[in-house]
């Protein structure tokens, strides 16, 4: 070991490549013109979508190499064990002092082969796997899978099942956003937000436990409907939560978002241009923060959403601050939705009559839901047997992570932490 180290040090890997890389990053540092991808703009943008005229430029403060003084770039391994990479993300950063020159995400530390495992499970068992992919919003993945199966097997879902599905989805969305809010605050060094957020999440998990029987690994949404009807004792629990939560949320907003230090940290940082966001397939709050009002709940309505009245919050500045505002607003919207769902909960069956062992006819189906992180899609291929022939997960956080090489250069290390945090990455879903 001792002999190998100096040799590794001398390895001139970075030396020859360095000027080239620096030149490249200099080019990529230039703020991209709005029409960088002309084919994306104008055609995809729906009527009334808000186009941002001037975006805050990517911050660039540290001069590179003072007075022709040779400086060396450091390669830093941020993660997989690092307090602010939310699990096991491994960011390979090339830094010049405090400034990130290039950033590269290295994933796969949490790979469990969920897509492959699904090929060896019956249709009503796959939910168990999907709970473990996006572990903060298991119900959304289950719902997407169940909808794909229902498309294949042409199952009609009862109205009540749809309403319950929407109800638990929204509760799960608030719980997931709360975790995001807390960890985002913690990325900035603000401890209390996290613990307060988890306190509220605890109430939500209690509610979800009463409904589904589990706190995180639900396996509750099944092809044809949901596993069980709503228990009678859950309504007062949800009502109590709804009465309490909005004031608490305002408090946390004051603690985290309205703090001047926090605003200085996240305003103008991690700007994702709308055309870039579209080109990289970003969805959810990350896309909506660029002013593009795309939400699966509105665009391809599912479950009870066609019958509900709600708005899609849209950001303006496309930076971490906009993503923060959009997510906080989404929690408020979800709170209202839960109230609506509870008030209008219909009577009836909680599930269609479905065979114990499902054998959907051969074919393919794609179903998507709006998970807390964006469009969670399941592409399912069936060969007519009792197990899926192939299941493909379109995970929103995976696409959100892919943009990180694009937006990190030119930021400081501290900004890189905030940017990665603002994308709301869940590594379980990225690695699957």
């Amino acid at each position: 070991m001792a002999n190998r180290r100096p040799a590794a040090k001398k390895q001139p890997a970075g030396k020859s490549a360095q000027p080239k890389q620096a030149a490249q990053s200099k080019q990529s540092m230039q703020p991209k013109p709005a029409a960088a991808n002309p084919h994306l703009l104008g055609e995809i943008l729906p009527e009334g979508a808000y186009e941002v005229e001037v975006l805050p430029k990517g911050l660039h403060r540290v001069p590179r190499g003072v007075d022709e003084l040779a400086t060396e770039h450091l390669i830093m391994n941020m993660g997989p064990q690092h307090p602010s990479t939310h699990g096991v993300l491994h960011l390979l950063l090339e830094i010049d002092g405090e400034e990130v020159i290039t950033g590269e995400a290295n994933i796969g530390y949490l790979h469990r082969g969920i897509e492959k495992l699904a090929e060896h499970r019956r249709y009503n068992q796959v939910g168990t796997l999907l709970d473990r992919s996006d572990y903060l919003s298991g119900l959304h993945s289950e719902l997407a899978f169940s909808m794909a199966v229902e498309q294949l097997a042409e199952i009609e879902v009862p109205r009540k099942a749809n309403w319950i599905r929407s109800l638990v989805s929204e509760l799960n969305r608030i719980a997931s956003h709360l975790v995001w809010m807390g960890t985002f605050g913690m990325d900035a060094g603000s401890m209390p937000g996290f613990l307060y957020a988890l306190r509220e999440r605890e109430a939500l998990l209690d509610i979800l436990e009463t409904i589904t029987g589990a706190r995180m690994m639900f396996n509750y949404v099944r092809p044809g409907g949901v596993l069980m009807d709503l228990p009678p004792e859950v309504e007062p629990m949800i009502r109590a939560f709804l009465a309490d939560f909005p004031t608490k949320l305002e408090e946390y907003d004051t603690l985290i978002g309205k703090n001047e230090i926090m605003q200085a940290r996240i305003k103008g940082v991690g700007v994702i241009h709308r055309s870039t966001a579209l080109a990289f397939g970003l969805t959810g709050a990350n896309l909506r923060a660029t002013g593009f009002g795309w939400d699966v709940r509105k665009e391809r309505p599912y479950a009870a959403y066609p019958e509900l009245d709600f708005d899609i919050p849209v950001g303006e500045t496309a930076d971490c601050w906009a993503r923060y505002l959009v997510r906080m607003e989404e929690m408020r919207v979800s709170t209202k939705l839960v109230g609506q769902l509870l008030d209008g909960m219909p009577e009836g069956d909680h599930s269609a009559k479905v065979a114990k062992v499902l054998r959907p006819p051969a074919g393919e189906a794609y179903a998507a839901v709006e998970s807390p992180r964006g469009e969670m899609g399941i592409h399912l291929a069936s060969d007519g047997s009792d197990k899926p022939y192939r299941m493909r997960v379109r995970g929103p956080a995976y696409y959100a992570l892919s943009i990180i090489d694009e937006i990190l250069p030119g930021n400081l290390i501290a900004d890189a932490v905030m940017t990665a945090g603002s994308l709301d990455l869940v590594l379980g879903e990225i690695d699957r």
């Binding site: 913690m186 900035a188 401890m191 209390p192 940290r265 501290a414």
Partner: protein
Amino acid sequence: MNPVLVAVLRALAALGLMLANGVVLIYMLRKVLGHMHVRLGPNRVGPFGLLQTTMDVIKLLTKEDVMASSVDKWLFRLAPLMVFVPAFMAYLALALSPTWRFSNLDGGLLYLFAVLSLVPIGIVIAGWASNSKWSLIGGMRAAGQQIAYEVPLLLSVLGIVLMSGTLNMTDIVRSQQGLWLGFLPRWYIFPQFPAFLLFMVAGLAELNQTPFDMSEAESELISGFANEYSGMKFGFMFLAEFSNSFIIAALATTLFFGGWLIPGLERNALALQLGPIVFMIKTYIGIFVLMWIRGTLPRVRVDQLLALGWKRLIPMSLAWVMLTGVIIKLPSLFGGVG
């Protein structure tokens, strides 16, 4: 008695106070932060978890002292001492009451700032010797931060030196005896309030504490310069950090809050006897405020921190020193009684 023996005993007393403070502060920090974070804090070892710190110290003492083979061995061993010894030396300048004091230096305040400015050298050494990139960044940040913030810290207390006309800690407190306008204690917090704000901000930065804990920055640098340290080496750094927060709070008490004085009872013999207790109570209130800030605010970014230091605090503190000087000298300029 032999003056050398007296000096040694005083130093030992200061060390005792430092260690006792460390034990109390660690427990207090955990309980206070726990309370603010809707947690319980330590509550398992001993009544109310009081023995938690003791157990932690035993753990640190018996823990394997890991030292990576690539570290600079002598600097790596030296760094915890370089952090710990200045913190201890700073205690020697404190005066808890006219009789309870470790020394009576005429340049006590100057001495205190001088030894405090040695701490970042230890941190830079720790960052460099660890031979770890994260530690190196932490050490460099500490250097930049301390240079930027020591100046406003020193400048912010200059107004008080001008008003009291002394650098002796005991005399500074003595000059705060009496009342203004019959009800306001003659504490320097009132005429020097802007200086107090500057002192607070610069002091927080000097302490490496949230929102200015750049060199540790848990979410960015994991734990910065202390990354590679374990066992009692880490314990020393930890202890130095806690005793520094005591020193800054004690300094604030001495300079701005009248030290051991109770307003209106300055000549009371019993009040003077209670002096050290009054001093400790005031200091611990200050420490509580520091912990409160620590438990609430997010961290600033390193460039914002330096911009705040160089562009705002230093000009502001310079202007305040000048203003104080002019106001003090005005009466004599116009031939008044002064």
